[in-house]
């Protein structure tokens, strides 16, 4: 197809390039994840990406849309990959299938497909399985450095497919550092006591804190390639840091440190890879600051006073809902149009 009117310039890199950049940026953190927790993550990734593509293809076929351009835009791959990183390792295949079905069908295509979904599809799928399957979603495996052993790839596949028993691996599971914090603080334990547990590292959990560093590095790559802009990660991390700092200063004995909050759970991944999903995020610069700030604040509120140990998914979905309003009230001043207060002189 030829352009009908100007400009006639070499086309810019496409959306698939943006998505590819996201995938590239996810690689270091993903490798670190495998390093600390084992090859089981690969099983998660294979199932999640596989189901994402499958459901995307299925619904594209039902909607009589061409498969190739949409499947090759990598958006389903990104959604599957992010979902695989959010759920516990060694999740059963059917849980991943349910999550991806909700992500791709309800979260994305029922709204009209890529570009039309008000919610982050991966987070829709994640929240559905989080609420539906609490037992599976709280079965977390220990880092290799703590447990000393991990499944190999074959064991991981057969475990995911339900061929091997949970009993065999039961000793390796444990609550996440964030979960331990929440439970133990509920038992009136001191921060210093809680941190005695072997799952804690310097800032966050063992392994988790280093994976978070790699997400951060990937995020810098995304900023460098201009795949994302700084506004959302900076305001989101800033909000988490600010609240964590305020409450930590007030009561360092029973409140987790700001460092712990930044380097635990989904905050770092969320700040650079999830909240920055352009389709469901605010589009104006001012709006992005508000949006990121809102997510950061909600994360801290849910972690501290909510019913779940982490709150990135909920925070992102709640902020997604506010995007039209945020966008409306943060329109930039157009060239030659005076700001409203000047209209009255």
């Amino acid at each position: 197809m030829s352009t009908l009117s100007s400009p006639f310039v070499t086309p810019s890199a496409g959306t698939n390039r943006m998505m590819l950049n996201v995938l590239i940026a996810l690689i270091p953190g993903t490798l670190a994840y495998i390093w600390y927790f084992g090859v089981g993550l690969i099983v998660n990734l294979v199932f999640a990406i596989g189901f994402a593509l499958l459901f995307e293809a299925l619904i594209l076929w039902l909607r009589k849309r061409p498969l190739k351009p949409y499947l090759s835009d990598y958006s389903a791959v990104v959604a599957g990959w992010l979902f695989a990183l959010c759920i516990p390792m060694h999740s059963p295949w059917w849980l991943i299938a349910v999550g991806m079905a909700f992500a791709m069908i309800a979260g994305k295509h029922l709204y009209g497909g890529l570009g039309f979904n008000p919610f982050n599809p991966a987070m829709v799928g994640y929240v559905v399985v989080l609420i539906s399957f609490p037992q599976q979603m709280t079965t977390w495996f220990l880092p290799i450095t703590v447990s000393g052993e991990a499944m190999n790839l074959v064991e991981a596949f057969s475990y995911s497919l339900g061929f091997s028993d949970l009993q065999q691996w039961d000793a390796l599971t444990m609550a996440t550092p964030l979960d331990q914090y929440k439970t133990n603080l509920g038992l009136n334990m001191m921060v210093s006591e809680i941190r005695q547990s072997p799952v804690f590292g310097d800032f966050g959990g063992v392994g988790w804190e280093w994976i978070a560093n790699w997400w951060f590095l990937g995020g810098l790559y995304l900023l460098y390639t201009k795949t994302i802009r700084w506004h959302i990660p900076v305001s989101m991390l800033g909000a988490v840091l600010l609240f964590a700092l305020i409450f930590y200063v007030m009561d360092p004995d029973s409140i987790a440190s700001p460092g712990f909050h930044l380097f635990s759970g989904g905050v770092m991944l969320g700040a650079f890879f999830i909240a920055t999903d352009p389709v469901s995020a605010s589009t104006t610069n001012k709006g992005r600051l508000v949006y990121g700030c809102m997510i950061g604040t909600l994360v801290y509120i849910i972690r501290s006073w909510g019913g779940y140990p982490d709150g990135v998914a909920f925070a992102v979905l709640l902020a997604n809902m506010c995007v039209p309003l945020i966008d409306y009230y943060t329109q930039p001043r157009v060239y030659g149009v005076e700001p409203p207060e000047d209209h009255h002189h």
Partner: protein
């Protein structure tokens, strides 16, 4: 080298590959005359011109071919001596691909060569005289807007002009016609500026040139210091598209923004293109009408890109031949630059006052548009600080009113948003479409308002008529009643005999019939004829008679 004054930034913009060297490889050349010169009657924005010459007329170089007395207009002139062989619709550079009336001029003599570019002494014409010269020379804004320059200057006269801005930015890639003009004839541009200064009396004059044209900047600075103009400066500005857009250049040079929906005069700024300045100088000093302009012929699709001083009316094909012909099998022909130019599908289209560049690209396939992912890159580059992505959204939903609220009409159609879009959505096309839909809507509203008013007026008129008739009948009835009463008093019988009434009617009818017959007998429209008309009628009658005889 003089120092650069403070400059300001506009929002967004794009750093584009310039491709300027492509057409600067050879010096400015005079284009030869084509065998057929095609001159559209209208080459400006504004009122339509009327043809002053007929088919078959011999015209001389510089003769006015069409004009109108309206203010917002510019006459067109013959670029050479020749004969008008036709006045007919021909394809012109218009987005719709429509044809327009053109003079077809067959040259009978070569181009008059301009003897010398040396500066004659500065003409001492008054402001009014200068305006009249500019008007009569058919000068329009040569940057591409083709608004009649005299009309612009006269309108600006109602405002105090603080800053005269000379636009030498030439920010579109590939185009070098202003660049080469400033490099080779800076003195001509400066003289044009001097005449503009005499008309406008600005407090200062700023000549904005993008810093990717160091030779032009140097030449202009030298010519400026030679002319010793006060309060006039050449300002080197960063090469950032679209710095040459009027509103953006004003922001860069003055820090001020032209208010939305207003003209630049209202903040005391007026801008003129460098090419326009040169045309003014030529008109004033050498009595030259605007019958030629510099055209850049460039792009990867021609063999020898360059700049040609081209007589207006020269077909594109002739210039492309001068540039060594097409280099590619499927050339994509564009008038203007790649960002805002117009794609043409016919190379027999003539060069007009608006033709700054003929760009020949290779017909490359554009990628299919994909869904918008709201990445916001369009917002980052938009020099009008609009939200292109939101405008696109509303345009798809045909929510044109909302688009107006999102300042659709502040869009300058620079093309940055489309160029950066990773989904390859032709955004500007959507805005052009929305604008035309809104204009169409406004036209319809205006029309329906007018017909509604007409209808109401007609209803009121009929009502008045009815009342008047009613009143007349009432008066008549009263008169009759009075008469009757009077008759009764005198003792006459109330009823006249019936036969008598019938007779009266009969008589009236007969009278009418007789009159009609009489009228038919004598032909109504032949009284008061001039002898000439009488003669023609007689001839026609004779012919008719003859034909009748032949038939029988």
């Amino acid at each position: 080298m003089s120092t650069n004054p403070v400059i300001y930034q506009f929002h967004g913009g794009m750093q584009l590959e310039h491709h300027k060297q492509l057409s600067l490889g050879q010096p400015l050349q005079q284009a030869s005359l084509a065998d057929e010169i095609i001159i559209p009657l209208n080459q400006h924005i504004g009122e339509a011109n009327q043809a002053l010459v007929k088919v078959g007329d011999e015209v001389s170089a510089g003769q006015i071919l069409a004009e109108t007395s309206e203010l917002v207009s510019a006459p067109v002139h013959a670029p050479c001596t020749g004969r008008i062989t036709a006045i007919e619709p021909r394809p012109i550079a218009h987005p719709s691909g429509q044809q327009a009336d053109c003079f077809i001029l067959q040259p009978t003599a070569g181009l008059a060569t301009i003897e010398s570019w040396d500066n004659p002494p500065l003409a001492d014409s008054s402001k009014q005289e200068l305006l009249e010269i500019i008007r009569a020379a058919g000068i329009v804004g040569l940057g591409g807007a083709v608004f009649p320059t005299a009309a612009k200057l006269e309108t600006a006269d109602n405002y105090p002009i603080e800053t005269l801005i000379i636009n030498g930015a030439e920010c579109e890639p590939y185009i070098t016609c202003d660049d080469i003009l400033m490099q080779t004839r800076p003195a001509l541009v400066i003289r044009g500026i001097q005449y503009l200064q005499r008309i406008l009396q600005p407090q200062r004059t700023l000549i904005g040139i993008e810093d990717n044209k160091p030779t032009a900047i140097k030449a202009m600075r030298e010519a400026l210091s030679e002319a010793a103009l006060e309060h006039t400066e050449v300002v080197s500005i960063p090469s950032l598209y679209p710095s040459g857009s009027e509103k953006q250049l004003i922001k860069i040079l003055t820090g001020q923004e032209v208010h939305s929906g207003q003209l630049a005069f209202e903040i005391g700024a007026l801008s003129q293109n460098t090419g326009t300045c040169a045309a003014i100088a030529q008109a004033v000093d050498q009595n030259q009408a605007l019958t030629s302009r510099i055209v850049t012929v460039t792009g990867p699709g021609v063999n020898n890109p360059g700049n040609w001083l081209t007589p207006l009316g020269t077909p594109f094909s002739h210039l492309i031949e001068l540039a060594g012909g097409y280099k590619v099998a499927q050339p994509k022909l564009i008038m203007g630059g790649p960002m805002m130019g117009l794609e043409l599908n016919d190379d027999r289209i003539p060069v007009v006052k608006a033709t700054n560049c003929i760009l020949v690209l290779d017909q490359a396939d554009q990628p299919q548009a994909q869904p918008c992912v709201r990445c916001g890159r369009c917002t980052e580059v938009c020099p009008a600080k609009l939200l292109p992505q939101q405008l696109y959204w509303y345009s798809r939903a045909r929510q044109f009113e909302t688009m107006e609220k999102y300042h659709l009409f502040d869009c300058i159609e620079c093309g940055c948003c489309s160029a950066v879009c990773p989904s390859h959505i032709p955004l500007v096309q959507y805005y052009r479409y929305a604008k035309s839909e809104i204009w169409e809507q406004q036209r319809k509203t205006y029309k329906s308002d007018r017909s509604r008013k007409r209808h109401e007026f007609r209803e009121a008129r009929l009502e008045r008529q009815k009342q008047r008739d009613e009143e007349r009948r009432r008066l008549k009835r009263e008169a009759l009643a009075k008469k009757k009463a009077a008759q009764q008093q005198t003792g006459d019988k109330p009823d006249k005999p019936k036969e008598q009434t019938v007779d009266a009617v009969q008589a009236a009818l007969l009278r009418v019939k007789a009159r009609k017959q009489q009228q038919d007998a004598e032909r109504k429209n032949i009284s008061n004829l001039t002898p000439e008309q009488q003669r023609q009628i007689d001839e026609a009658d004779a012919r008719r008679q003859k034909m009748k005889q032949e038939d029988s």
